[in-house]
Amino acid sequence: MEFFHEPKIDWMGKAKYFATLSLCLLLIGAVAAIRHHGLHYGIDFKGGTMVIVRFSSAPPIGRIRSALDAAGLKNNEVTSSSDISNANSRNDVMIRVEQNGEGEDALNAAKQTILTALEKNFGTPSSSKPDFNAVAVPDLANYLTRRDPLLLQTSAGDRYTQLAQALIAARDRDHGGILTNFNQLNGVEGANSAVIAALNDGFSLNTFSVLNAQVVGPTVGAQLRRQAILATLYALAGMLIYVAFRFEWIYGSAAVIAVFHDVLITLGFFCLFYDKFEISLTVIAALLTLVGYSMNDTIVIFDRVRENLRLMRREPLPVIINRSINQTLSRTILTSGLTFLTVFLLFVFGGQVLRSFSFAMVVGVVIGTYSSFGIAAPIVVIWNKWRGQGATVPVASSAEKRAEKRLATARR
């Protein structure tokens, strides 16, 4: 099977359109960024408190908000964070509080305040029993051992630990981490009516359960941000040097500019969908992935250019580059198509935690593929034209050049 057979498209002739397209995309991103006063940093980079809570029934978002307001958390943000691919998540709510007052201690306090406010408004009224939806295996095992509902006494061994594990697993796996009634545990192996009665006796069931709570201090946020940017810049510099060494420095620069262009446009898309996606540490990993991917794509084309320059010494550079892009087009379409398929499936089915990550990848794969022929290759052509040597350029790698020079010296 084959999609097409070496097309004859004049890519470099369309460089103007590519430039316009890229400028438009960058401009849209810039406008969106200005409109929202910059990037939508998650609490990883900004500092703050975030709590994701799962309710057992449709969450009363208005009431949550007023409960938080009453608790003194004015700048709160309560959004539904359900996920189409996960049936359990339909009642999830994300609560975010920005930094409230100075220092790290204020942040720790914010988390406590959120939990206390939720407990007060949605907890089991006037119950001092611990919440079964929040209990961990060791505590549950301790309780069961103490109560001994199976009357095992000294022969219990780790039977109750196993039972506790099974009960918690049933809660988390079969009921999405939240029970409304202890009888939901009826089918669990080893959980007879005595066990369930004991649970009923010792635990309450809150109508919510905390899935995820994150508190990041402002100094850590700033550090993480700085470190992520630095690591990325160093990585780019490293790639620039390697490509410059293997090809010529203009190829390295063109590849790095193209990658930079991809990152900027992807960030622009994040600004465009400001309310949907935020920049977290995982998104940084996605941006790094996209840097690697886009670089890979560009190098494949440049590699072909290098090879063709040796074969077609008389042809002008734009022709050679066109030919190289066309020769590798089949591979480009295949690889990009398959990678796109992968990240698209991840975007749709990968769950809420991976959503921002896969969004960056979906945008990045398309832009990264485009920038190889739309940005990196034209930069090389324009540079050579500007140098006035548009026709034949000796593009041997600097390593090869050194070898040739040595050879020449040896001959002499």
Binding site: M1, A136, V216, M239, L281, I284, G292, L338, T342, V348
Partner: protein, 540 residues
């Protein structure tokens, strides 16, 4: 099959067997399916973001320990000056590391210099700027670094001991990269870290001090007024709850205590919780002290029968029982504790005091159900996309597509096995690394196959088309892989936790990919070519 090819095949098979053994063969060779999955789960370390748990980053206030040292030196210095009859003007701590001595008579300068040199070698003495006859004692940088290092080591040790008392599975306590004073605490499976946080943060400074005035004062001012505005020498005021007759607490009060403690937390041998002898329903902490401390405690309590002794925990008086008889090495601390509080306090006392206070910088708690969700969804999506890619490759490249599928599968096996064997942790950003690895694996195969097709179109025979195709694609593959490896190396060197995880997975994946898509895939092609008819069409 020629022998060269045979050896290559054996080598590949050996790699596969080692990988599979690394994944499923530990700790004991599996004999049942349950053992296979059990071994796999044991080997594969999941990050907290995937299995649920708490991740805390805390900062040890190391400068407190430095300031404490300066405080001690400050006291000792005044003491020595007094003893050696060196009179000076005001002596003052400037910041945590400097002591200013003003108006030193020129005649005493030499004596002061000798004193500092001999008794306080941790400090250097210099003329204070803008001060006639004033001197500045500054702590040496090496001493500061030592104290900070010691404080960190001791804090790590103490926190480790405290956490191990919580009975969690595989907690992790380690210094973390961002500064010299940060500690990472990972508590897998802990749904709510509030209790753990309190136990970690508790100071744990325990002191037993003699009570000088039997009745506590309602305020500091009241205490001062009683003593004519100045506290008696060697005494200090410590706040604490006042116990009234019925064991009910009666609000905050101030106790006048002897400044030097009889026994401190460092003298404790062991502490255990137990029911409160005087308050039914409440708990107390029973303790025993070391032999050496018992030698001090016995005579002291014997001489002070009828007086009160205060139990001071982290600057708060917990209780001030009357000494009824000589106490040798046993005692208890009461304070209307619940069972849990008594258990926690015993744990804290047994683990020892923190040398400096700590602050939390970062706290992330992933509930176990969210962790389970992300694993399930992440794995489902990855498997779905992998299968889609495989189907496409087979449809598009026919028999050669199967070759690519084998190479990709092997790539994945090597990657996961290497992570398992080396004990690397798989995190969400790590999964990102896996995705990029698969992407580049597909790319390498596609590059090779497209090249072979090109050579076939140019009229080359099967064997030489495969040969040239691999050779030419190899250069490209090397370039793309090394570029990405270079960036991964920088990310590993300069990145923080999650970025590092990404870099590790990526590096292993790329190396595995070089092996599978270049070496393994080539061997499969050669094997296929050696078996097929020379004239037949290559299925690609």
């Amino acid at each position: 099959m020629d022998s060269n090819l045979k050896w290559k095949a054996i080598f590949i098979l050996a790699v596969v067997v080692i990988c599979l053994y690394g994944l499923f063969g530990f700790p004991s060779f599996p004999t049942s399916w349950a053992q296979v999955t059990g071994n796999f789960q044991n080997r594969m370390q999941l990050g907290l973001d995937l299995r649920g748990g708490s991740h805390l980053v805390l900062q040890v206030q190391v400068q407190e320990a430095v300031t404490n040292h300066t405080d001690q030196i400050y006291d000792a210095l005044q003491d020595q000056l007094h003893k050696q009859n060196i009179t000076t003007g005001e002596i003052r701590e400037l910041n945590g590391t400097q002591i200013l001595i003003r108006n030193v008579p020129p005649a005493s300068t030499g004596a002061l210099q000798a004193l500092v040199q001999n008794q306080f070698p941790d400090f250097t003495m210099s003329q204070a700027a803008g001060e006639q006859n004033g001197f500045l004692l500054t702590m040496r940088a090496s001493v500061i670094a030592d104290i900070e290092q010691q404080t960190m080591d001791q804090s790590l040790e103490t926190i480790r001991r405290r956490i191990s008392g919580l009975g969690l599975k595989e907690p992790n306590v380690a210094p973390t990269g961002r500064g010299q004073d940060e500690i990472l605490v990972e508590l897998p499976g802990e749904g709510d870290p509030t209790r753990a946080k309190q136990i970690i943060q508790a100071g744990g400074q325990l002191k037993f001090q003699l009570v000088l005035d039997d009745n506590p004062y309602p305020s500091e001012a009241a205490a001062l007024a009683t003593h004519g505005g100045v506290l008696p020498l060697g005494s200090e005021l410590i706040p604490g709850k006042i116990e009234s007759a019925g064991g009910q607490s009666g609000g905050q009060g101030w106790y006048l205590l002897n400044r030097s403690p009889v026994v401190t937390g460092a003298d404790l041998r062991h502490a255990t919780p137990g029911p409160d002898g005087n308050q039914p329903g409440f708990y107390q902490v029973n303790f025993s002290v070391s032999n050496e401390a018992a030698k001090r405690l016995g005579p002291f309590t014997g001489a002070n029968v009828g007086h009160r002794m205060a139990v001071v925990l982290d600057g708060q008086v917990q209780s001030d029982p009357v000494i009824e008889a000589q106490i040798n090495d046993q005692g208890y601390i009461e304070g209307n504790f619940t069972q849990q509080q008594a258990e926690d306090l015993s744990e804290i006392l047994n683990a020892g005091a923190l040398p400096a206070s700590i602050r939390y910088l970062e706290e992330r708690t992933i509930g176990p159900s969210l962790g389970a969700d992300s694993i399930r969804e992440g794995v489902q999506a990855s498997v779905a996309s992998l299968i889609a890619v495989w189907i496409f490759l087979v449809v598009y490249y026919r028999l050669s597509g199967i070759n690519a599928v084998v190479a990709l599968l092997l790539n994945l096996v090597i990657l996961i096995a290497f992570m398992a064997i080396s004990g690397s942790t798989l995190t969400l950003p790590g999964i990102a690394g896996v995705v990029l690895t698969i992407g580049m694996g597909v790319d390498s195969n596609v590059l090779v196959f497209e090249r072979i097709r090109e050579e076939l179109r140019n009229g080359k025979a099967n064997a030489s088309a495969v040969d040239v195709g691999f050779d030419k694609a190899f250069l490209t593959i090397i370039d793309t892989h090394i570029t990405t490896l270079v960036s991964a190396a920088f990310l590993f060197l300069f990145g923080s936790g999650p970025v590092k995880g990404f870099a590790i997975t990526l590096t292993i994946g790329l190396l595995a990919n070089l092996f599978t898509s270049v070496y393994v895939s080539r061997v499969i092609f050669d094997w296929h070519l050696s078996r097929m008819n020379r004239e037949a069409e290559l299925s690609i």
